[in-house]
């Protein structure tokens, strides 16, 4: 009898704290405990980074923009934030998330939206970049931690979109391509109609396609020649480029399918 008491209390001392530990981690938006049918589901968003249908690869001159300039990619990173699901009845469910997509690291190219209320969803919205509320301090964790190298130092603000590589100039020579898009003025929002998703306590996958060439083409053509370095630092030189990219950016995303 006493043996059981002892074993029992020792067990308790191990189990209860670990239960408490998990309860501490619980976020405010976690679902209410449900007894019968689940009233929520989850959607995993998978982003594929492409250039006109080919997957992004690094280093080689594998790509050609709409202006016929051959170019390469060494770094391709961008933020998707404030992901929002639009219901059939136009209600919006907003996830205050900041997701850094690094094309080189596929583990960063997916994220899951939890506890989506049951219902039909017809569209998604998200920012490409970081909203002004979070764009003026680097004292942040997770994908906004300055360790992600998506922040400037001379003026604190996030680099929303970073494409570094090279391109071939007229004489076939290799020139640097360095595009760092940012500042509050550069924030854009994509609003995309998706094949209707019916959440009924179950999980779905949403495939989002990003076409880099569209960033330089849809609808504004951006060529690299004599236009190859922009860091959103100097409005004289950067303004036209910044506005072109801001306009094109949302058009670079399409939803290819949902499952």
């Amino acid at each position: 009898m006493s043996k059981y008491l002892l074993a029992g209390s020792l067990c308790l001392s191990l189990i209860i704290p670990s239960a408490l530990l998990t309860s501490c981690r619980k976020k405010a938006k976690d679902p209410e405990p449900v007894v019968a049918a689940k009233t929520y589901g989850a959607i995993t968003v998978k982003v594929s980074n492409e250039v006109d249908g080919s997957p992004v690869t690094f280093g080689a001159y594998s790509f050609t923009n709409a202006k016929g300039e051959r170019y390469s990619i060494n770094i391709l990173k961008y933020y998707i934030s404030n992901f929002t699901l639009v219901g059939e009845d136009n209600t919006e469910t907003n996830y205050h998330n900041y997701k850094l997509i690094d094309a080189k690291d596929t583990s960063t190219c997916r994220f899951t939206l939890d506890s989506i209320p049951n219902g039909n969803y017809k569209a998604i919205k998200f920012y490409i970049g970081v909203d002004s509320l979070n764009n003026h301090t680097g004292l942040q964790e997770g994908d906004l931690d300055p360790i992600k190298q998506m922040i400037w130092g001379w003026k604190i603000g996030y680099i929303f979109f970073k494409h570094e590589g090279t391109f071939r100039n007229d004489t076939g020579g290799s020139e640097i391509l360095l595009y760092h898009l940012g500042t509050d003025e550069a924030l854009s929002q994509a609003s995309i109609t998706i094949p209707l998703i019916t959440v009924k306590g179950n999980d779905h996958t949403l495939y989002l396609k990003f076409n880099l060439n569209d960033v330089y083409h849809k609808p504004n053509d951006v060529g690299f020649k004599r236009n190859n370095i922009h860091q959103s630092t100097d409005i004289f030189g950067d303004a036209g480029w910044l506005l072109d990219l801001r306009t094109n950016m949302p058009n670079a995303f399409t939803c290819s399918k949902v499952e």
């Binding site: 006493s2 001392s13 004292l139 300055p146 360790i147 130092g153």
Partner: protein, 353 residues
């Protein structure tokens, strides 16, 4: 009490204790009760300093920030620290260099700023590009003409250092060194760098007397028809309102200053008004270090400034040549009373190793 009861009570105790621990970020097996609050002494004459709630000063945090400030570990070639350009002997500005030289031997295009009373400022750098001292830490580390290091490398070096993990743990009760904690530690040290014990401060407190010339200089400094300096370098306290102004150094700008941050046309050529405390120690002067003496600064305000649309109104309406040579010497004599030798010798701000 028999053995099993003791064991039972003991296991209940373990349960209780570990459940408290469970809600803390990290366990703390050695019973260290956390960092000690740092008592910041503000000299009379300076206002209380607002400390951000998300980064309270602690003895351990300040000590860590001080070590980091002096440690070349944050630079790419392990040769340059913050103190390389911010030298205590010159009120934490860069000796006599117009432009500081970074790790690659390349010079920047601005004069290194003095560092004291930073906790009273709302924005940092000559153009106010960053709004917190915490955020300011990122710039010099990643700037190619300064320490030219990446944040991932800097953090990696700190994590694999034999001492830093324990120091971060003491200061922030965590096992992992992160960028926000690096930013916080250096900012804490910077907030403690208070300067308010110059001859002028002692005079205000009745502990020292100014010479006749210094007194005359003080009056001329404030006199609206003469120096008229206090419009911007507000008398007493921090000796600046830290606003952005165009003082007519140029009418065509190689450095657009505040405009780079705001993109507002009228901000071209505006720079943050610096404090004039310790000014005799921080030559050369102005954002680009173009003047090497205080006399040149006075000549500028007296006759040298250029007219342009953006020129500050105070200077627009002022008469060129309003000060004579004696007036200017007197003002310079007064400016020398703003030197705080206790500050540049304060062992609390010295290299800790």
């Amino acid at each position: 009490m028999n053995k099993k009861n003791i064991l039972f009570i003991f296991s209940l105790f373990v349960f209780f204790f570990s459940s408290i621990q469970a809600c803390k970020k990290d366990g703390n097996p050695d019973g260290y009760s956390g960092p000690t609050p740092y008592h910041l002494v503000i000299p009379t004459g300076l206002p209380p300093m607002a400390i951000p709630a998300n980064n309270p000063l602690t003895v351990e945090g300040v000590a860590l920030g001080r070590k980091l400030f002096y440690d070349p570990i944050l630079s790419r070639d392990l040769k340059m620290s913050c103190a390389s350009c911010h030298n205590q002997a010159f009120a934490f500005s860069d000796s006599t260099l117009q432009f500081s030289i970074g790790v690659d031997g390349v010079a920047g295009n601005r004069n290194a700023m003095n560092l004291f009373n930073l906790g009273y400022q709302k924005e940092f750098f000559w153009d106010g590009g960053v709004s917190t001292l915490e955020d300011q830490v990122i710039g010099p580390i990643i700037n190619p003409v300064e320490m030219h290091e990446t944040i991932p490398n800097a953090i990696q070096k700190l994590r694999s250092d034999p001492f830093y993990p324990a120091l971060f743990k003491k200061a922030f009760l965590t096992d992992s060194i992160t960028t926000p904690l690096l930013m916080k530690a250096i900012a804490q040290f910077e907030r403690t760098m208070v300067s308010g014990n110059s001859k002028y401060d002692q005079y205000k407190r009745g502990e020292a007397t100014l010479t006749l010339q210094e007194m005359k200089g003080l009056d001329l400094f404030e006199d609206g028809t003469k120096g008229d300096c206090t419009h911007c370098h507000v008398m007493g306290s921090t000796f600046s309102d830290f606003e952005y102004r165009n003082t007519g150094l140029d009418s065509i700008y190689t450095d657009v200053g505040r405009y780079r941050i705001t993109f507002v046309g009228s901000d071209s050529g505006k720079f943050k008004t610096p404090s004039l405390r310790n000014i005799a120690l921080t030559a050369p002067y102005m954002h680009d270090g173009r003047f090497s003496t205080l006399q040149q600064c006075l000549d500028h305000y007296n006759t040298g400034f250029h007219y342009s649309d953006n020129l500050d109104i105070t200077l627009k309406v002022t008469r060129k040549g309003r000060m004579n040579a004696q007036d200017m010497s007197d003002i310079i004599a007064f400016l020398h009373t703003l030197t705080d030798t206790g500050f540049i010798k304060n062992p609390l701000f010295r290299n800790p190793s």
